[in-house]
Symmetry: C2
Subunit: 444 residues, 2 copies
Amino acid sequence: MSRTLHLNAFLMGVGHHEAAWRHPRTDPRRIADVTHFQELARIAERGTLDSVFFADGLAVGPAVRHNIQAVFEPVTLLAALATATEHIGLIATASTTYNEPFNLARKFASLDHLSGGRAGWNIVTSAQAREARNFNLDDHPAHAERYRRAAEFVDVAIKLWDSWEDDALVLDTAAGVFADTDRVHEIAHQGERFRVHGPLNTPRPPQGRPLLVQAGSSADGIAFAARYAEAVFTAQQTLADGQAFYAELRRATAAAGRDPDGVKVLPGIAPVIGGTESEARALADELEALIVPEHALAQLSGMTGLDLTGLPLDGPLPDLPDVSAVQSHQSRYQLVVDLARREKLTIRQLIGRLGGGRGHRVVAGTPEQIADQIELWFTQGAADGFNVMPPLLPHGLEAFVDHVVPLLRRRGLFRHEYTGRTLREHYGLPRPASTYAGRELVTA
Amino acid sequence: MSRTLHLNAFLMGVGHHEAAWRHPRTDPRRIADVTHFQELARIAERGTLDSVFFADGLAVGPAVRHNIQAVFEPVTLLAALATATEHIGLIATASTTYNEPFNLARKFASLDHLSGGRAGWNIVTSAQAREARNFNLDDHPAHAERYRRAAEFVDVAIKLWDSWEDDALVLDTAAGVFADTDRVHEIAHQGERFRVHGPLNTPRPPQGRPLLVQAGSSADGIAFAARYAEAVFTAQQTLADGQAFYAELRRATAAAGRDPDGVKVLPGIAPVIGGTESEARALADELEALIVPEHALAQLSGMTGLDLTGLPLDGPLPDLPDVSAVQSHQSRYQLVVDLARREKLTIRQLIGRLGGGRGHRVVAGTPEQIADQIELWFTQGAADGFNVMPPLLPHGLEAFVDHVVPLLRRRGLFRHEYTGRTLREHYGLPRPASTYAGRELVTA
């Protein structure tokens, strides 16, 4: 196969559906059990998926009353999964808004060393006021400022990963030379937001740099992805929207002077899988019936910035402000507004549509129908692969790996076994050289 | 046994001796191999040791030319060890100077959840200018200010760990109640250095709070330990010094209103073990011969703040400034000055004495002689246990576990098997109740 599909398993508690933890097929106590996540990673590895991924946030609010809450911090969790798996890539979300570049660059370098080159970083900015209040602020910085900080943050991180050249670790026991300090570079970064002298306190990670992933699809997000991202997670509801985003991101990437094939686009898909279409539909209905409406309405109010809690569930959405007035999750906001308008959804219907994947596309059907959708988007210029979001875990991941993956393999779209060793190799992406290679030492 | 010894394995690369990586009994490539550390943790667990521990720093300097450098960040490394072990405690150093309390509280909560209650935090302040330069500063904050920040940092972390009461996670699938938000508390911390609203975004960790460990033995360090620490690592060269420190720390702890038995004191010991005394002496000599003198002298210059690099190795130390003029590692500075004066050491002899444990006590001898020293300090009011620093790894840890531990067991000083499940239980320390238990909800 000349072009291969890429599949990421987005893992979240006992499933992506907001009511997954209430469904009899899950055991919600397992959210605090590392063996649950080790099993999930091994299932994904059995399916030769490219990677597993954990999202993250830096606060909880009242929503924790009705909805599941992650227990583990993603990088520590992935470190525990690294030693329980051999091949699969390990991607964690971490915020550029409330970390220091030195600490985060080091954490991901450590994960890359621990896993033999399987670390990926989903670069995010933190957009909730309640997160800001955990970090000495009253509210989060504005959208554009968050992205400017993110860009300088990633610039610093890249310099730090590059600060040890690949061959700097000499280990010459006879001469007593541990590292060749001519190949360990101070980065002397002096920017608007950060001053970081370097070098990083760890040799260059196996992949050179962890895989850089990004998930914001706003204008700022696309500009950021075009400059830095090697894989992009995105929420797209229709093939046309997916095609438009795919084309736009590739255009922006080329305009930023990069090869568009160096960025893999993975829309989210929440596959509700049944042996028959009606079995799948029944499972989707079971899950929808378990949604707590007050909770879902409060979430939707938070997402839209409007208090919808007094409105009748079976009425329409009120008029919503233009996206430019929104300071967080802009692209997701636009998607929700478009979805409600396009399909003329009542508030109750909208809640049902969002419950399966928080705005990501939900597809209920047989394994063949799911595979058809994946093939369609992959071959029609809307996707290089998918961010797979099983509604129930482990059940939905097992169903995907055991019933959808074999179809994708038979169709020549997906690998039968791992051919690479690192996460970059799974995604067909090159190992970057250190920008300092061959340069003179900058002395202290 | 009414009072039991506590033993912590301090793990560092391929051994604590600064020339360990050059010795034929080690393989320095293993510093980047997680299975090396998994093996070490399993050896320590075979010896029913209380815990393993990793130190940390946030910069490298020119010393990396001749001396081994850690590859892994301690918390990610311990997460990978958590799933390879069942009983042993997992203690990581992390800095209060260059982290945010929310991020660090969460990381240790995550490690505690991952390991089923085996996490410990060695609380440090960062004292090197080159660390400051990786975090937007020109130099590190002064000694007293670092300790004030550390105290408020730990206050915030404790509030965050306590913010979920133990029974806040309800998981009532029928009612759709995930967490009882009456038992999830905002902490609303408004201090001089931090404003943190909370709650933490994870349920209360299995131990309630990770074990709090501290290692500074200056006046500020002792005051801090008296207030917060549950275990203290310390460097003491003589029994008399060890007794004085032990008594002083217990006095300070009582004066701070705490039970002195709630703080376990563990002096460092670097045991150079041989089948005979002359075998042990020969190993110590081999290691000393592998020291790179320019490197050791540069390190000693850094430690004393004086440029000693031009001085003859076989001459005496020059006069050194009073400890009050020193802004970092005050207690270690005093120890080095006292050691050199007491034993009238030349610079070369001092370098040899420091090479084995950076100021910690080195004891070369047979397993019986090592056990005798441990018993002496333990029974004579100088120690509750030891921070064991093997000169070579895995060799020195295996020798300790296989030859010294059985003697300590036979003498009734040390456990034959684990009787507890958590790190706190190993150290005989209580599980703290949440300070919020039973309080009214502070609403948003």
